[in-house]
């Protein structure tokens, strides 16, 4: 008997599902037409273009472009159909005449809700899935008809499906959130308003609060770091769109050695967290649905506190941004007041007890300002001090500024040693910031430390799936331990050797497309399948005289393997005592890297020599830095023109206004040594005046005559920087005396 009842009850769910799908038949047809006009049409256009190109047939760009625009619009509209389908499926929640018909049916609340939810989801997703399949079929048939053997379309299928899944999950998120919004509304206007508001307010509040926290104490914080946090990416369709954008763009993962693992880890975590969030939204929607009463239809907001949560969230966003950016508070209040009272008139259907609207607005303002003041007073709730435990970090993306052009080692590291070095450095920097009195106790390893600034940016990817991004400016001495840990790590060796091999394939002239984001784990295999050779760019020890040489697959493999071996065997001593032999792409090869040098010789590659032909290039944009010089006898510092370091070197300073500029200039005047002289250093306000003064100074002219255009090994006393050219003043002759005279006159 029980079994029979259970079967009957289960079948009622199916019946409701079936009836609701039938009920939404018009929407299904509309959505299906949009889906067919979307991806399949786009694929067809791509195939037509490919066919025309392959067969060298002239075609009308505008017609195809028009169809492409139509298909993109259709895709966008079909994605937004999630909102309309949610509104339509649950329309009996805001349409009074439909209440009895739906609620009197022999269904439990649970059956009715989930049958409706799933029927709407099916109407939304199935045409979209069909359009994806249809698109793949069109592309498959297209490639068979075209008969090009340049690319095997099926190589792309897994990656395309993976990428498409982001969009599909984002669509489920949009639909679920829209259903949730409908469950607390009593009228069509409220439902439409709430659907759009809820979808916008969740990422809006997260982004605004994230920005407010980072602005409250900007030390090391990044305003846009919130946009890469799972908290933002996984909680709303807008977040999903940002994730999809970064995923498609590949920017999120660019230059990351362990790319495939990294993408997989990020992708899976995003999927898992987003599905959990969808589950939570669905549970919340069911909870609201279950406890709302049938008679609540047509009442203004079934759960009035949702309305106030919306409105307060909007107020909080506006106030926090105006407050933190120190814009006009009166303006912020005015904007909020206009929005608030218009919505109150609509909600109340008039001015009934309108004084309560004033009170609620005042209360919202008070709470919003309270949160902002608290955020400011607590220095962003102390977020800048947060250092994740190394054990909780799955991997850390690292970028060491000023050295990017040489090393490009903005990589993701999983090595415990590297991660511990990063967290240790972060703790040290934060400690200095917290205790400024201790700063002078740091041994000045570099007499030229005034221009010795390094920007270290780290993005921790925690085991929880969250990310923490921090960026600090410091002198190179402080970053030495970290640099050492990175350079000597096995991961770095793996990343660089792998990068070297991959880059060599991408450097082929016929490599006109980027498959990085599509191919993930099989990237290198894919490249090997499609290219029977690679191209190596090798340059002299200064990285100026570059030659490109075509090599076999075996040769580039041998070179990258050898490079891995040499990097793995590299020690602090070999770093300290070795000169740079050459650069392969942007990777340095020390003269102690015998395996690599032998592999180059075996491949018939000769290391280019320094030549007078490029003398201007050797002297341009060059700086010498002792600490980096420790690792790189010759080093390029290209990004330091806009900033420098004074005794508060650990702080992030930029010349953003004249007052700030002057302040730092005065501090510089107390220094006994100078490193930069010239227009770049003095920036824009007094550029030409200073230049004229210096060039007419006999001592300055003599100093220029004594300068060198390039240096190796030795430490210069100063660098004169004029119009992009660097002139190195060495400790020889009367240079020191001349320099003292000039600095004495200058200040």
């Amino acid at each position: 008997m029980t079994a029979a009842t259970s079967t009957t009850i289960d079948s009622f769910f199916g019946r409701r599902f079936k009836s609701k799908v039938a009920d939404n038949s018009k929407l299904t047809i509309t959505h299906s037409v949009l889906c067919i006009l979307g991806l399949p049409l786009l694929c067809a256009i791509a195939m037509i273009i490919t066919y025309m190109d392959v067969n060298k047939i002239k075609y009308e760009d505008n017609t195809l472009a028009l169809f492409a625009v139509i298909s993109v619009c259709a895709i966008v509209i079909s994605v937004l159909m999630g909102i309309i389908i949610a509104l339509s499926t649950f329309r009996y929640l805001y349409n009074k005449s439909l209440v009895d018909m739906n609620h009197s049916l022999p269904l439990t609340t649970q059956q009715r809700f989930f049958a409706d939810y799933l029927s709407g989801l099916s109407v939304y997703m199935i045409p979209m899935l069909c359009s994806v399949v249809l698109g793949l079929i069109i592309v498959g048939i297209g490639y068979m008809v075209i008969g090009t053997d340049e690319t095997n379309i099926f190589d792309f299928v897994p990656a395309a499906i993976k990428a498409g899944c982001i969009v599909l999950v984002g669509m489920i998120l949009l639909y679920t959130l829209s259903v949730m919004a409908v469950t607390f509304c009593g009228s069509l206007f409220e439902a439409v308003f709430s659907v759009f508001t809820l979808n916008a307010i969740i990422p809006g509040v997260i982004a605004c609060l994230g920005i407010a926290v980072s602005l409250a104490e900007p030390f090391g914080m990044s305003e846009d770091a919130i946009l890469s946090k799972n908290f933002f990416l996984c909680t709303s369709p807008i977040g999903a769109a940002v994730f999809a954008g970064t995923y498609f763009d590949g920017g999120y993962f660019s230059n990351i050695g362990s790319e495939s693992q990294y993408i997989s880890a990020m992708y899976i975590k995003w999927m898992v967290i987003t599905f959990i969030v969808i589950g939570l939204y669905l549970a919340a929607a069911f909870f609201l649905y279950k406890f709302r009463k049938a008679e609540d239809v047509s009442k203004p907001y079934v759960y009035p506190w949702f309305y106030y949560v919306f409105m307060f969230s909007a107020v909080l966003c506006v106030i926090s941004l105006f407050f933190m950016f120190e814009e006009s508070i009166a303006g912020a209040i005015l904007i909020c007041a206009i929005g608030w009272f218009i919505m109150e008139v609509i909600r109340r259907r008039g001015f009934k007890k309108f004084w309560t609207a004033g009170i609620s607005f005042a209360a919202s303002l008070a709470v919003a300002f309270g949160i902002c003041f608290l955020c400011k007073a607590s220095k962003g709730f102390g977020a800048y001090k947060y250092v994740p435990s190394a054990g909780n970090v799955e991997m850390a993306e690292l970028y060491i500024g000023g050295m990017s052009s040489v090393s490009s080692y903005d990589c993701a590291f999983k090595s415990k040693e590297v991660i511990e070095s990063i967290t240790a450095l972060q703790k040290e920097v934060i400690s200095l910031h917290e205790n400024p009195d201790t700063i002078k106790q740091i041994p000045a390893t570099d007499p030229n430390s005034l221009n010795d600034e390094v920007t270290v940016t780290v993005i921790y990817h925690l085991l929880s799936g969250s990310t923490v991004e921090r960026s600090y400016n410091m002198n190179s001495a402080m970053s030495t331990d970290l640099v050492e840990a990175v350079l000597l790590s096995d991961e770095y060796a793996q990343i660089k050797s792998r990068q070297m091999e991959t880059t060599a394939y991408y450097s082929n002239d016929d490599s006109s497309y980027n498959t990085t984001w599509l191919l993930g784990e099989s990237e290198l295999d894919y490249l090997k399948k499609h290219f029977d050779h690679a191209t190596v760019a090798i340059s002299d020890k200064c990285g100026i005289n570059v030659e490109t040489i075509k090599v076999s697959q075996e040769a580039i493999k041998a070179i990258s393997d050898a490079y891995y071996q040499d990097l793995s065997n590299m020690t602090v001593e070999s770093l300290e005592n070795s000169d740079t032999a050459c650069f392969i792409f942007e990777s340095f090869v020390l003269d102690s890297f015998t395996n690599t040098i032998n592999a180059l010789e075996n491949a018939g590659i000769t290391i280019p020599e320094i030549t007078d032909e490029y003398i201007q290039d050797y002297s341009a944009n060059r700086n010498y830095n002792r600490t980096f010089g420790y690792y790189y006898p010759v080093n390029y510092m290209t990004d330091l023109n806009y900033c420098f370091v004074d005794e508060n070197y650990y702080e992030h300073h930029q010349f953003t206004d004249a007052e700030n500029y002057e302040d730092h200039t005065k501090r510089m005047s107390k220094s006994e040594t100078i490193t930069f002289i010239g227009n770049d250093y003095y920036s824009t306000p007094n550029n030409s005046i200073n230049m004229n003064a210096y060039t007419s100074d006999p001592a300055f002219c003599e100093l220029l005559k004594n300068s060198r255009t390039m240096v190796f090994d030795d430490m210069p006393l100063a660098v004169i920087y004029i119009d992009g050219q660097r002139f190195f003043i060495m400790d020889e002759g009367n240079n020191k005396q001349l320099l003292d005279n000039i600095t004495g006159q200058m200040y």
Binding site: R16, K18, S104, A294
Partner: protein
């Protein structure tokens, strides 16, 4: 059997049902009478599981009606609106309900449809109000529920169709022992179809009895008393008949019009000591009972008439 035990239903601050107790026997044809906003539709919606009671119990065959599929599939509710079906054809509407009511009978449906001659494939939006009402009634009957709840069942039907629909209902009640609860302001129809009725006012049950006993318990009395010794017509007031439960007391010259509750013989016995010249006890129609019962409760049209 349907039981409402101390049932309370509130809409925000408004109490629609204020602890009512009502029992409707299986197979009964039950009429719900009451003023506008008395709570009749609320009772029907509670029974059909649309509303959840805020207090007390709403039981159908001993089980709570709300959220119980096994109960809800035995109840069919026809509300007083037809707008919700406008997007459907009769066939589509039939298929829709057929999914949820396991006892749905195509034979009954076709049989009833042939009587009212409704087209299957035309949208209900093209139907008149009466045709829509016929459509949903025949679907409700074809679902063969144990309990059929009708809110303003005969609204919009022409006289001929009223007779046809009433016959359909009566046939179903006789054939299948179907319990029918009809809420209507048309007391004549309730009178014709129902055997039992309840009068609801301000969320309370004023009475709930079989209609014959209701009608037998309230009487209109026309009485003329003989002149006294001085030749004057005696002037009685309601207080002169303390044993009589008077609902309405009116005098027009020598004739008294009294509406009173009670058995006809008892009423006659009350008047007997005063030796009336004329005493006529006339049973009231349901409509008159409705009006006089509610008048006692302060719901009357006298103020408007006086204006």
């Amino acid at each position: 059997m349907i039981e409402l035990k101390n049932t309370v239903k509130k809409f925000d601050d408004y109490t629609a049902l204020d602890g009512i107790d009502l029992t409707i026997e299986k197979g009964a044809s039950f009429g719900l009478l009451g003023s506008n906003g008395a709570g009749k539709s609320t009772i029907l919606r509670l029974l059909s599981g649309i509303y959840r009671a805020d207090g007390g119990q709403v039981l159908i065959d001993g089980k709570e009606a709300y959220d119980d599929v096994s109960i809800k599939q035995r109840v069919f509710f026809i509300n007083d609106e037809t707008i919700q079906f406008t997007g459907y054809t009769l066939k589509k509407l039939k298929d829709y309900y057929k999914l949820f009511y396991p006892n749905f009978s195509e034979e009954v449906f076709e049989n009833l449809r042939s009587k009212v001659k409704l087209p299957l494939d035309k949208k209900l939006s093209t139907f008149s109000k009466g045709m829509k009402r016929q459509a949903i009634v025949i679907i409700g009957l074809a679902c063969q529920p144990d309990y059929l709840l009708l809110d303003e069942a005969f609204d919009g039907l022409d006289p001929t169709m009223r007779i046809i629909v009433k016959k359909m209902l009566v046939d179903a009640m006789i054939d299948r022992q179907m319990t029918t609860i009809i809420s209507s302001h048309n007391l004549k129809e309730i009178n014709e179809v129902c055997d039992t009725a309840a009068l609801i006012h301000d969320g309370k049950v004023i009475f709930a009895r079989d209609i014959d006993s209701v009608k037998g318990s309230i009487h209109k009395i026309q009485v003329v008393f003989p002149k006294d010794d001085s030749g004057n017509t005696p002037e009685y007031t309601q207080a002169d008949f303390p044993d009589l439960e008077v609902l309405h007391f009116e005098r027009n010259q020598s004739i008294y019009y009294i509406i009173a509750k009670g058995d006809e013989d008892v009423i006659k016995a009350v008047f007997a000591p005063k030796r009336p010249m004329l005493l006529e006890v006339i049973p009231l129609t349901l409509e008159e009972i409705f009006i006089y019962e509610l008048e006692v409760l302060g719901y009357d049209s006298s103020d408007i008439n006086n204006d």
